[in-house]
Symmetry: C2
């Protein structure tokens, strides 16, 4: 899917919601443990409850890797299930990979060819040859970390001590955006950095941004949309915990659907405000 | 194992060699495919042939992830085998992970608790909360990327255009070294950057450095040792392809052992030169 296809899907769904699939075994409801693959069962029910309100799903690979080979099976089955039943959804591996060219090629193969993801989050620290292998697949995306939503973003991405130089996240946006285009590259820009969306948009006005940090991490959807949206929406806003653990009980899926529906309604209003619907 | 234990082992083996276990199915000899698990079979034979010349093994996780769940099984078996038969070896997961605190905790659990590694390579881009979870395990190590050996290192780690500021890799060394100590933190410093070892050693004189890029990538062991060694050696030099694919034929293990032995002899000479033996 390219950026036009993604915008079309955003208009169809009246939503730019990405649902984070971060299954924590300690938070899953009892009933899913009665099945062979509790993580897959949980993801399947969350997807069924939320697919009509979302345009993307983003499994955080750390949650699967913590479960070893079993976790990989659950991930493979999750992707296969969503791909088949909801082929319109963009599937993003939140893997934050990045290695020498030779190794990044293998990560690209793992997530694009083998698992069938549409996009992978990529760390820019190791530079061009670490990012490029993710850009050489047709209709696939590298989602480069620029300004993340965690507290550690201030350590290197935004160096507040040195006001004379461009902060690292701006260098990353300026430099890496030249390696790809708006159809194979997005950037992670955290919702907890609302004031910086204007600076980000000066450098990459047309790219899609993947925005974590709304909900449990405290970012405001309205502010993000108003400062970060472009003429083709240009935003995918991710919610994980606030949706998938909306209820810890056996109504987890209907509660997740209800929460996703509320977010979709707000997103629809924001898209109308920008005259994109 | 702490830094004293590692130095002791370096003196025992008269070597500071780390062997990179990067099994590429296209390069493995035919005989290993006659077994149930070719990757494990290859690693096992490489380990048996090289263990007496090495103090560490470093599987590059990209090579295993490219094989899906099967690759994770091969990795688990490899680590279990080396841990049991060669308990003195330091086992480093070359994973280059780094995510929000919550997710990094899961990666730490995956590599330290579940797989039983001693060390994990970690990307510093996301800052303190992304690194700290790897530092909270007793006798385990975070190996932080500082100056990598690939061409992309020049994009952000060393910003040659701006001479007025400290390069990013120096900021990373200075800042992250305060989050841990010489017993739970090492740094990746590529062998292709020989001239910079002096600068690195001004900032982190006492830490162990994990040095990739000797051999296939062109770095010189002698130069690295002379500019980077400290009073407790302080270096782990990794060789991957130049050892494990020393021969592509059925003598791959004896050829790997021969090559590792040659490197060990050179390392012994360099340790003596520094009066560490």
């Amino acid at each position: 899917m390219d950026s036009s296809g993604l915008f079309k899907e955003i208009r169809n769904k009246r939503s730019f919601l990405c649902v984070g699939l971060d299954p924590d075994p300690q938070k899953l409801p009892g009933s899913v443990f009665e099945t062979d693959d509790p993580v897959f069962e949980f993801n399947k029910k969350i997807a069924d409850a939320t697919a009509s309100f979302a345009v993307a799903y983003k499994p955080n690979i750390a949650f699967y890797e913590a479960l070893g080979a079993t976790g990989w099976w659950s991930l493979e089955k999750t992707i296969e299930y969503i791909r088949k039943k909801y082929p319109e959804q963009l599937l993003i591996a939140d893997a934050k990979r990045g290695d020498t060219g030779n190794s990044s090629e293998r990560y690209a193969r793992a997530f694009f060819d083998n698992l069938g993801f549409d996009a992978v989050t990529v760390s820019p620290y190791m530079g061009m040859d670490s990012v490029k292998p993710f850009l050489s697949y047709k209709d696939k995306w590298a989602v480069v970390l620029a300004l993340t939503s965690n507290s550690g973003a201030w350590d290197f991405q935004v160096d507040v001590e040195d006001k004379s130089v461009y902060p690292l996240y701006e260098k990353v946006l300026a430099k890496t955006s030249a390696w790809g285009d708006i159809d194979n590259m997005m950037f992670v820009v955290g919702a907890t950095r609302e004031d910086m969306f204007y600076r980000v948009r000066r450098i990459v006005p047309d790219h899609f941004l993947l925005v974590p940090g709304v909900g449990a991490q405290g970012g405001s959807l309205e502010n993000i949309a108003r400062s970060g949206m472009n003429s083709r929406c240009g935003l995918l806003v991710n919610c994980s915990r606030s949706i998938i653990y909306s209820s810890g009980g056996e109504d987890f899926d209907s509660a997740a659907g209800k929460k996703a529906g509320e977010i979709q309604q707000l997103m629809e209003m924001l898209l109308r405000e920008k005259e994109l619907l």
